[in-house]
Symmetry: C2
Subunit: 482 residues, 2 copies
């Protein structure tokens, strides 16, 4: 029996009161999982109201998962108590999203006006028309294969296209056979872990990419944090570590943005050869360099097969696709061949085919060029705005490549408090404390925050930087050094 | 310096001789990785031939990965020796493809005329037009999200749609929060392994799905094989096992095809509750049942939160999509919430959105109904053909659900030799010996082979069955029991 007592307070709209009451009854357990809600009409009669407020309330309950709709039957209470005996349900959209860096769980109030999120791209830059045309094409071209599983290592056509692109753009020398198409860094690292059974300690950049570090830790590996200086990992420190592998981001150290100089690259490869260790090269920003002459990838310098090269489509195309690739050296390829194929599970064939067509038809080269120019423009604009509005109050580093830069703010505050101050002004900037395994060295002369520019418009940028100046320096400019 | 000596034997075409010579020189190491091939024109001059044979030879070398093409530069020798010091490169398309069961590595000669592969679907049944329309729609609807990473547990909209579908069609009671969208069984099992750290032994159906068994073995788990009788796993045997989890396929035991009776389901749940163990319910064939009244899923019968429910879109839509889902009981959901989010990495947001629209717009219900009817028709037709052409010479079991059936062939031969005989006649049938962990019991009165019918046309079916009769019984009918 369904009995709803709707309070009379006229200040809250009826739909809200209906929604509150039903939710309340679910919480206190008067409405049990599996119970059917009355039809909109019958409840309208019971409450002597119009249908609209009831439909609205039901929609809200449905959207929030309190009730489930059974086609041609009605709405039922979800088994709520069973699910959350103790604590209340966490908001559905609050599960953290991956990326570099992850987004803060609770968005700052007031609502963010300008978000310098380093993981975001400008959605407008995604080649919508081309992509949906290519999806259509791949459904047609490969129609006959729609009933079959694909190669778990990735579609052959795509692997050929990737091999040729890597060769021409990054000097990576490999056969399509060496390429493992995947659905992101977590997948690739998961495969590597299976291919390197002996491995128990991994060296990581400190600070470094926490997602990768967590992957290794989750699998019971020991981590040796290796200090990052101005230009990236301090190679000489590797010799004091017992790690049999090191994960590096030489094209744009994540997060500090340093670019590993050529000599260090050779020294890194020497260390690996000497120790029989592997170097995992995450070339996530390989496509985006704004000054100086490009430095070849580690893989292209490696003559001793010590490098595992990993690249992604998340920066150049979209992170929504979850498509990346890993290039295995011959020895690991042989290990892979000797293992049950179940360790591999490539992503959607349809999108792999579409990406193949995207590359094969030349869209890819055009798109990369376009993205590079756009990012260069945004990058230059951001630097100009920082010089104009923040001037000597900050110091920019890690700005020669990638999609974010590092700002040393000349003020006696912690990075966290700078992030908070910015949030208070409606600007999201990022403090990568999660990227540190150990404590952040107090040594740092000034607090560092990070600003991404790929996902943000030129106009927003200006607003954002102006607001940052307000938030950080107006009112306590005496804190700032001259 | 590039010097090509083309033999004079006129019986092989010129392009073939060019191809052979270059490949030979790569093998013996005279052509080294990184060397540039001469342009088609210059080689044509050198050989005093037309361009066509040279272009053809280059195309072949390119297609086989011996050379790589660098846009606006030319063709280069791939670093071949480095890659395969000892053995020759394996043919590119020969890497095994997953599924149930995996396909034989070497296809039988003569080329297969009729393939009863249980993993294949009829590609013509894929809703091409609708799907490409929905991909377009999701690119439009969700354009604003294209620059961002999604929820690693899966897009909220899709999880809501799946929860409602499971509730209405399989009685599965869950909130969208309990659903983990994945890219296939290997992914889901990988997550489970992280959620059940204490777990060290898993019980599996014997025979059972080798992909799942291998996943557990790969991760260092001990396996307790539990005998499968006519109707599925022998629940009573579980009590003698120390496993803290069991993987089962109750809706259509894989591979034997038994349907676990209701009382056994209750007994299975009692065992799990008593032992505090988990039951992994793989409902891969839940949608396809051809006779008798449907038996509720284990999850829907479970009142003690012991069931992990796993379903897939690979059977009803296409395996090319690599899209599945797992329903976690509350306790495991809490464990998940307490872990770093990096253990999850959902597949493409674009295809998740498309699948959401597919379900939300009602295409899904129509499609499932259509597939069910098609499969029922094929299934009935196959049974009729078997009765007509093989009659008493075989015994059909596991035919009440799923997309394949089991054939006990009344002949004194091994299943392997039956598969070989069939292959010799151009028919692929399958012997699931890989599904057995231990030795296949000799006890079996007759050898069993498996025939899938989802991916095959009615006409082919008839040809196939006729050929099987020829291959198995004509010539040695004296072997056959009357």
């Amino acid at each position: 029996m369904f009995d709803l007592l709707i309070t009379e307070q006229q200040d809250t709209p009826l739909y809200q009161r209906i929604y509150d009451e039903i939710r309340e009854q679910i919480h206190i357990g008067r409405l049990q999982g599996g119970m059917r809600l009355p039809s909109v009409r019958s409840l309208a009669v019971q409450l002597n109201s119009s249908k609209t407020p009831i439909e609205t309330a039901y929609q809200m309950l449905l959207a929030e998962g309190y009730v489930l709709s059974v086609p041609r039957s009605g709405l039922y209470i979800a088994d709520y108590d069973r699910l959350f005996p103790t604590e209340p349900s966490r908001p559905f959209n609050s599960s953290p999203t991956p990326g570099r860096p992850e987004e803060p769980l609770h968005l700052p109030a007031p609502p963010t006006v300008v978000d310098f999120n380093p993981t975001s791209l400008d959605p407008a830059l995604f080649p919508f028309r081309t992509w949906s045309k290519l999806l259509k094409q791949s459904l047609e071209h490969f129609a006959g294969d729609m009933g079959k599983y694909g190669d778990p290592q990735g579609e052959w056509e795509l692997r050929t296209a990737v091999a040729q692109y890597l060769w021409s753009s990054r000097g990576v020398n490999c056969l399509p056979e060496q390429i493992v198409i995947g659905s992101g860094m977590a997948y690739s690292i998961g495969i590597l872990i299976k291919l390197l059974p002996g491995l128990k300690r991994v060296a990581m950049e400190e600070p470094g990419y926490n997602l990768v570090r967590d992957q290794f830790v989750l699998n019971g590996y020991g981590i040796d944090p290796i200090e990052v200086r101005k230009n990236g990992i301090e190679v000489s420190d590797l010799w004091t570590s017992s790690a049999q592998a090191v994960y590096v981001t030489p094209s744009h150290q994540f997060p500090t943005g340093g670019i590993l100089p050529y000599p260090d690259r050779e020294r890194l490869l020497d260390w690996a050869a000497e120790r029989g260790a592997y170097v995992v090269e995450d070339d996530y920003a390989g496509e985006f360099r704004y000054s100086g002459k490009p430095i070849p990838s580690l893989q292209s310098l490696d003559r001793r097969d010590r490098v595992i090269y990993i690249g992604t489509f998340s920066k150049a195309v979209t992170p929504a696709l979850r498509l990346n690739y890993m290039v295995l050296p011959p020895a690991l390829l042989k290990t892979l061949r000797s293992m049950p194929y179940e360790i591999l599970f490539a992503p959607s064939r349809i999108e792999q085919w579409a990406m193949y067509l995207f590359m094969e038809q030349g869209h890819w080269h055009r798109h990369i060029r376009k993205m590079r120019n756009t990012y260069r423009r945004k990058h230059r604009h951001l630097l100009a705005l920082i010089a104009l509005h923040l001037g000597d109050l900050v110091e920019v580093t890690g700005e020669h490549a990638g999609l974010h830069l590092q700002l040393a703010v000349k003020i006696r505050k912690s990075a966290q408090s700078l992030v908070k101050l910015a949030a208070g002004a409606g600007v999201a900037v990022y403090d990568f404390h999660k990227m540190w395994m150990g404590e952040k060295p107090i040594a740092e002369k000034f607090p560092n925050v990070f600003l991404g520019f790929a996902g943000i418009g030129l106009q927003e940028m200006e607003t954002g930087i102006r607001l940052l100046r307000k938030a950080w320096f107006e009112g306590f400019s005496d804190d700032a050094t001259p």
